[in-house]
Symmetry: C2
Subunit: 683 residues, 2 copies
């Protein structure tokens, strides 16, 4: 009984009014679901995202959104079995589900953590430092990032019905943008189930997630410069979307992940018998067989030193021979079918093209004897290893993507040749390099870096820990130049910023400090009536300041500081030698003596809201302090940030140490953990 897929638009599930497409099981061709977006009011979906989802998300802080992501990840993690079960019909094995379902949930967890750890408890983000724009310092600039006011349209590929939507959703949600997600039809029933879970969780604000099962209709017509399209799929489809008139006219942000003929390169040092050779063989086989090779990051081109071509090919072929292809329902199956018979046809065509550049070294693209199934009604295909003996003159091997369990071995001579050949992919998502030789690593890595979004260097030191050639990770950018689409996703906060507008702010220090809630030199720094260390986190205001009295640094102080901690560096101890130093006028005080004396000047000894000094940033000693100089300190609240525990808050203080003539001798950010006695207990 086929599932009748629905779209979720304007807060309700919408049944298609016609145009149904039948989706067949990859295993046996039986109908699994029907799908159509006919009847969806796309203009209303966009409006709903803008009018409901956007405002709700923008009312939340980054921390609020991060907490929702964490809750959502936990909710899905407890219910993922249903996704596993549905995925079977797409051809996914248990191993494949670890990538798709668990990988997707893991990405939510990862962005939840980053949001808490790397973003403030604010609705905007200050990016980079303060630019002084006038000599007097009365005119300054800085940058902020704020969420775009539109909708993020996510158009996903069939191969990752869970990870695909989730890796796009997590950064958009954290940024504060509502999402309309559209799965590829072939596996839309898995995504529909995923979205049902996400909505049922009750964790997402109304309008923050909508689903379109079927074509995008006239959705793109309604997009503006506040919207984002993030696409994963073929070059052809990407072109059609990108050239839609509204996209160019309104400069809609367009992120694309497309075809990619990713390379794996075996270093000349990695001869048979080395760990790197074995790691290479294992990785090529894994990339060919996980998801039946239907991964945009899979290895398509395996470059090996000419002298090792035979052995490498044999070793890969041998390992491929041990891969059991069959129904994902069976425990013995290592590789499932392709997603559809149509997909298999496309792969067979591509194999034929590439084979014209050489030959098939292993496997038969047209015959497969799957366990527990057949290759007539099921889209099974055995792994195929091709050989292209003259890759410099290949016509297809560098440009035809066989999106299945297919790779081509190609020999190279010099390292320069390996670099040139890898670049013939015209831009890829990822390349991997198997070498234990630093010079080989540097020559190839820097040679091919401009053509790749990610480079993996595998050797005996990390082989066991490596997450693999084909695994995009939340903390590293995923995307590549040229053929790969020029897009960039993930990469930690980088992926979040695609959904935000960067705006330069210019004005007086007072105005910019007040807007950004971050003190800037030149902004008001009012001395508080009570010592600011007596004020708890919530009472402290940005700009609150203590100006200390001064303390003369004597030669005796310097000598005592030298002998006690034991830092008898000549610049502190030997007048003649110090004078010969290009930076010092003679004996000078230790930098840490200044820090310590400064603390002595501003610290308030009895227990109070300041619980600990947990660190210090950006300390620069700007002018030497000589015996007889008198120092004083200005300490100003620069920024406040909620900590993980509601009982505390982090306070960043701008500390500046002056000498008796008012010159700055040192400047730094002091970090303290402050109590919030009146905070509500943790929820």
């Amino acid at each position: 009984m086929a599932i009748a897929l629905q779209s979720y638009v304007q807060d309700r599930w919408v049944c298609p009014t016609g145009g149904l497409v039948e989706i067949a099981s990859a295993i046996d061709g039986r109908p699994v679901a029907t799908c159509s977006s006919q009847g969806v009011d796309f203009a209303a979906a966009v409006r709903h995202a803008r009018d409901m989802g956007g405002p709700a998300l923008r009312a939340m802080t980054f921390h609020d959104r991060a907490d929702r992501l964490r809750a959502l990840a936990g909710y899905l993690n407890d219910r993922k079995e249903v996704l596993y079960r549905l995925s079977t019909n797409t051809g996914a094995t248990k191993r494949d589900n670890a990538f798709d379902v668990d990988g997707g949930i893991g990405t939510l967890f990862a962005y939840a953590s980053r949001g808490r750890r790397e973003l403030p408890s604010e609705r905007f983000l200050v990016e980079g430092g303060v630019e002084t724009l006038s000599k007097s310092g009365a005119f300054v600039g800085t940058h902020i990032l704020t969420p775009l006011h539109g909708v993020a349209v996510h158009i996903n590929a069939f191969n990752f019905p869970c990870w695909g939507p989730l890796e796009k959703f997590a950064p958009a949600f954290l940024a504060g943008m509502p999402v309309i997600t559209k799965p590829a039809t072939a596996t839309a029933y898995v995504t529909e189930a995923l979205v049902r879970l996400m909505l049922e969780s009750g964790i997402l604000p109304v309008g923050s997630l909508q689903l379109v099962c079927g074509s995008v209709g006239d959705l793109l017509d309604h997009l503006t410069g506040q919207d984002v399209v993030s696409f994963t799929g073929s070059l052809e489809t990407s072109q059609i979307l990108r050239n839609h008139p509204a996209i160019g006219r309104n400069a809609v942000r367009f992120i694309a992940e497309r075809d990619s003929l990713n390379a794996a390169i075996l270093g000349p040092d990695a001869a048979p018998g080395t760990p790197e050779f074995d790691l290479f063989v294992r990785e090529v086989v894994r990339e060919m067989t996980v998801k039946a090779g239907q991964k945009c990051t899979a290895i398509r081109r395996a470059f090996v030193p000419r002298a090792m071509e035979g052995e490498a090919t044999r070793a890969i072929a041998e390992a491929l021979g041990a891969v059991t292809v069959g129904s994902p329902l069976l425990a013995d199956t290592r590789m499932g079918p392709l997603v559809s018979l149509g997909q298999r046809d496309a792969v067979r065509l591509a194999v034929a093209e590439i084979a014209s550049d050489g030959e098939i070294a292993f496997g038969d693209p047209n015959r497969c004897e799957p366990l527990g199934a057949d290759d007539v009604s099921g889209a099974f295909m055995a792994p195929v290893l091709l050989r292209c003996p003259d890759p410099a003159s290949a016509r297809f091997a560098h440009t035809t993507e066989a999106f299945g369990p297919v790779a081509t071995v190609m020999p190279y001579g010099s390292l320069e040749e390996a670099v040139d050949l890898a670049a013939r992919g015209e831009g890829s998502l990822v390349a991997s390099l198997f070498t234990f030789d630093a010079e080989v690593g540097a020559a190839i890595a820097f040679g091919i870096a401009p053509f790749h979004g990610r480079l993996l260097i595998v050797d005996r030191d990390c082989g066991r820990d490596s997450t693999g050639h084909g695994s995009p990770l939340p903390g590293l950018v995923h995307g590549g130049p040229g053929r790969a689409g020029g897009g960039e996703e993930l990469g930690g906060l980088r992926g979040v910023f695609h959904y935000m507008q960067r705006t330069a702010l210019q004005g007086s220090p007072a105005r910019l400090a007040s807007l950004t809630r971050s003190w800037i030199k030149g902004a008001p720094a009012p001395a508080t009536e009570r010592h600011p260390f007596r004020l708890d986190f919530d009472a402290l205001r940005i700009g609150d300041t203590i100006e200390t009295g001064s303390r003369t640094v004597t030669l005796e102080d310097i000598e005592q500081f030298a002998h006690f901690p034991g830092d008898t560096f000549y610049a502190h101890m030997d007048e003649e030698a110090a004078k010969a130093n290009p930076f010092f006028p003679g004996r000078v005080a230790h930098g840490y003596l200044l820090l310590s004396f400064a603390a002595g000047l501003f610290v308030d000894p009895p227990p109070g809201p300041v619980l600990a000094n947990y660190g210090l940033d950006n300390l620069r000693f700007l002018k030497p302090v000589s015996p007889g100089d008198a120092i004083r300190v200005r300490l100003t609240v620069k920024a406040k940030n909620a900590a993980r525990q509601p009982e505390y808050g982090e306070v960043r203080w701008d500390a500046e140490i002056f000498n008796q003539t008012g010159e700055t001798v040192a400047r730094y950010d002091l970090l303290t953990m402050n109590a919030r006695p009146h905070a509500a207990p943790a929820a």
Copy 2:
């Protein structure tokens, strides 16, 4: 006698073979120059950039390129009079030249400084921190940026024939990408003269700069995913370029600055009589008249509180009445002509459209009596102030850009209304806000930030220092979403990164440390035979390490440290109170005591290559140290960077303090200035 403009391609000046276009003087219509790119071999130009310019630039470090930029800026600065003279025929006054010529040279200087100050003496850049990718720490990731291997095609607008090419050239050159620059025909003779100077300087490597005067021919056909197109001009032209098949197919990076109906907003607090009111009037008039309003950043829409509409309009009109329009050759002239009669026709048409939304409040678009010229042969136009009384229902005022001395005054009611009206520009480069009220500032700034690339908040505190609504600055992003094109230029290093590929690197700590020349925890840290403080800058290797002996921290030490610098914070002095603190087990050592003791453990007292400890970064106290604990230090060379003076180098050390059980109690980056005794003297 008209100048016969040439292109500069493949290292030689190329005369057009036909298709000449005549360029007329803006002042009197006399022919100034002829221009055509017919005969230019565009494929060869691209090849030349790739084969000669790219490799030459990539062989240089950021510092090398920065030094060339500085030399180039100095060279041009000494010869700018010729550019001033030529610019006169474009209609530019002396004031206009300060923006175009001096502004362009200033941008070169600014990027030279940034390159030296903010980039390493390397050919690549490490971006962001290290990501730990496995539990054991044996698999890590980081990101690098390397220059793209293609060519940067810069397509410029007519209004800034010097600043335009230079603000695009500086970041591309610093990134390491060769440039083909194409001026707009109307003012190409100024750019041609500029490029002649740049080439004559002998400062630029062969192939790093080529010039196309005339159309771009089939240039775009030859671009790949390693190339960049940066365009400034109209929405229409941008669309034609962007939709060129090669751009989309190859995912050529495409940066666009287009139409922008920038807003200036007078705050409700900024009533007549306040400094902010006067600053607003001055700014509107300045933006309407500098470059005769032919600036993509000019104020086109002036929003004023409804109650102040009359007074604001009168004040602007009065100031406009005092603007003398005339030949830029005359000292009394404040505003010159538009660039061409055709441009004036276009502006008059736009004025007529906008006037249909209201009326002309001041000025006659069709009549002008210029000083020392006439408005029949010269493209003179008097400033025109329009009024749109009902901006919520305007058809043209928010979307028709009159690219001349034209602005429209529009009233608003609430702050929300002001925000909504500003957003009707559908994305702008810049908006300015005139208010001294923090709440008005925050409400409008955060309301319109997502629609703008830059926001200027002007008040009495910064009015005198403000660089103005219309001035993009090298350190702040220039570009805006939506109608403005969605591009981003400048913004300090952000503008450089558009010409570089970001690549995630994954591998073992050892491999990544060696590749990035930056030590990573887990990478080899060999103890040097001699104390590393005895090794000069050039002899020190990344990873060189000293492991110190240990020192027990006694209660007496803590007491002495408390009383001597005077930091008697209770956590050090009072066992009971310290125990009550959530972070401490009882009395603990001062953080600065740990730093000082650590220095005592690793410092090598006699004079040597280490000249000074100039600072410290990222210090975190990770675990309290109690009386009786013994600490020791590992100090490892993390990174090295050439200083401005060749005699020194900056060394960043990874410092980690451990306790007697091997737990990390503190970690930080220590910064020292080290001698390079064998360095060549400064050139």
